[in-house]
Subunit: 430 residues, 2 copies
């Protein structure tokens, strides 16, 4: 496919772009968003007009319409976001390690861009500047495929950003490709020859569909079934604070808690209060038999509840026999996203850290801290529940890989083999 | 599938095994190989007897039979290999970074096992102790699927190794699973729910088949189309040494050179000598028109030659206009494995390092150095040409990932949002 080929060719050139020029291009992109705000608003108005018809016809939800809408302050946010990416340190060209293999033969491991990133997303036009800026910062070309409902907005944004970056010497044409609506997501998923990594943004079903239909590595997560486990010797007020914050501070996001696990020895003291607290904050509580025996207003939780990401003001509560039981539950039903323990016991925390198979494991803190900005990364390309490449909140470090650069002085392997073989020094320099 | 489920369960326990016990288990495995050598030899004899019939019937090649055969010294090599893995530093539990998010809230990034590794391999029984020991060292459970021609040998080895490791406290049952011959490779490829990473060992076609038929991440390489580029100001004797070593030192392996690229300004001086050198060493030379005009005994190279991994004493030579031309050729036809430049110019080397899209890029050294042992890793699980996770020769570091461990003191996100938001300190500790 022509656009994918163009991106692949641009990626080779973009890998050579130095830090100063990448920053200049990003600043130009931010400035262009501001100067072209009327163009963006006009394009967005066309999308919104169409979307309103869909909402009236019941074919789009009100929240989806809201996510689609762009106004002046949102454009300013986009510009600030691009500028903040410009300020992040260049992730490319960092030496990860240096080894003397032998005298006059130095092996360096150096970070480099991955190549071509494919971003597939639903109705949020702000993904365009966000993902494009992270990709440019890390020297990657990007192929964007947005939803049809945002087609005018996405096109305007992509054109503005590409034109602005093109004004900086060394930025290759074609590094930012927008795939238009007519073309199908499936086509992008088949481009494993041209796309090195896919970054999907959207609902669980959307991400699951992508993961199950491509040979390209996918950085992201489908489910975010997070747990908070209240250990037998948790400090009660802290446990209540964390249980509440993890659920209600922003219930519709992946790092919100879905299931609260409570040690049986603290259940009698803790459950009535936490249930009351949830109910007072508008949370529907579903619980196991023991939970329901300890508190009123709790609906029965079924097997399905332990597997469900509510993304809503609903929580399920289960009483467990001990920390092992809690860990087993998490490893069985969790989605390897974020799980927290509340306990005064350092030993229990250590055990939880080592036994829970998740990207983020927290002790005495809300699951909601699982986030690239809060983790000090400056920006986030996504949260990954993968077991390879990058895990948890992923910043620019997930958009680079490394290669090995060997500087020799004519060495050949024949000299290092056989009975008179020269020995490697293998002296670690860095 | 039961074996995969058992491996998944074992992986969770194995992740907790400490360094001392992992080393004890590996030493026990090495010892057991030695004490059970007769059992191994007997099992191997059964495989070899069957294989000899296949060779007679023309259904197996002589080199494949040779790879299958195990003798006492090979068993000793296996045991030494396992012992050397025991001596490598534990890759699990290493702190990659520590950040103070705020006072009393410390975020650590710590290495952990990936989980379950699937190894699919052809007729070499020595893969069983090698891959098993690397997986145990890194705290991963392993599912092995060998070829039917080595079934008795693989079964004996797997049983001996599992029994030996089981004698060490804390080693869970089921961490080493051998999938028997009757079951198909395709079944293993479908186990994406249970296997986190596949490590194939075998021919190009074998690895390609695996990569194209699974949703599980694959660590490995199909092709090894490596290049040596002789720049215009290369030192001639060095260029000849490297050109020869890269081809003939071991021609049937992935890091041997397949195509020699020669700058046009040095072609007249260099090509007649390198062609003669190759011919004297039994190498068939194929060349472009210019190469053939400069030297006798060169067969014509076609487009297919630039895309072919000969794995044999055959080389293709192409004269290029300049370093850009060489880089373009490599990025077009190479397999992102290992490419080398021979030049006196530091600027040319720098350009080559930055522009060639390969896992290993070498200056004035033979491509044959691309190897885990030579790179000082102590052992190699494979060479990867992927663009994510791990690239180049991969040691134990490719069998671990990390998670984030946050130690708080009751922090909730609500306190870090809104107009009175507390600020993160984001102080880098390590």
């Amino acid at each position: 496919m022509d656009k994918a080929k163009a991106a692949r060719a641009a990626a080779l050139e973009l890998a050579l772009l130095n830090d100063v020029r990448k920053r200049a291009a990003l600043r130009a992109m931010a400035a262009a968003l501001r100067t072209n705000k009327n163009k963006i608003l006009k394009a967005n108005a066309a999308d919104v007009a169409e979307a309103k018809k869909l909402v009236s016809a019941g074919r789009m939800t009100a929240p989806a319409l809201k996510r689609l809408m762009v106004n002046e302050s949102k454009i300013e946010e986009m510009a600030l976001g691009v500028e903040s990416v410009a300020k992040l340190p260049d992730p490319v060209g960092r030496t990860l390690g240096t080894l003397e293999m032998d005298r006059g033969m130095i092996l360096e491991q150096v970070t480099c861009p991955i190549g071509v990133i494919g971003a597939i997303f639903e109705s949020r036009p702000d993904v365009v500047p966000q993902v494009s800026s992270l990709c440019l910062r890390s020297g990657n070309a990007v192929i964007l495929k947005g939803g049809s409902e945002a087609q005018h907005s996405n096109k305007a944004l992509a054109e503005i950003l590409a034109a602005a970056a093109a004004g900086v010497t060394g930025v290759p044409d074609g590094w930012l490709q927008l795939i238009e609506t007519r073309e199908e997501v499936k086509e992008v998923l088949a481009l494993d020859e041209y796309i090195d990594l896919l970054v999907p943004r959207g609902s669980n079903e959307f991400v699951k569909f992508i993961k199950n239909n491509t040979a390209i590595p996918v950085l992201g997560h489908a489910d975010g079934i997070c747990h908070v486990y209240i250990d037998k010797n948790a400090q009660k007020s802290m446990a209540l604070d964390i249980a509440l914050d993890s659920k209600v501070q922003y219930p519709s996001v992946c790092n919100a808690v879905e299931t609260l696990l409570v040690h049986k020895d603290i259940a009698k003291k803790f459950i009535p209060d936490v249930v009351q607290l949830y109910i007072n904050n508008g949370v529907e509580v579903r619980g196991c038999l023991k939970t329901r025996s300890l508190s009123k207003g709790v609906k029965p939780a079924t097997e399905a509840d332990w597997k469900t990401e509510y993304l809503d003001l609903i929580i399920s509560i289960k009483v467990v026999d001990d920390i092992c039981d809690a860990i087993d539950h998490i490893n069985k039903y969790g989605s390897k996203h974020t799980d927290a323990i509340v306990t005064k016991s350092a030993a229990a925390a250590k055990r939880f850290f080592e036994s829970v198979d998740a990207s983020c494991v927290f002790h005495n803190a809300s699951t909601r801290f699982s986030d690239g900005f809060r983790f000090g990364k400056g920006a986030e390309i996504g949260i990954s529940t993968n077991k390879t490449h990058a895990r948890g909140p992923v910043g620019l470090e997930g958009l680079v890989i490394y290669n090995y650069r060997l500087r020799g002085s004519g060495q050949i392997v024949a000299d290092y083999t056989g009975p008179k073989a020269k020995k490697f020094t293998h002296k670690r320099i860095k």
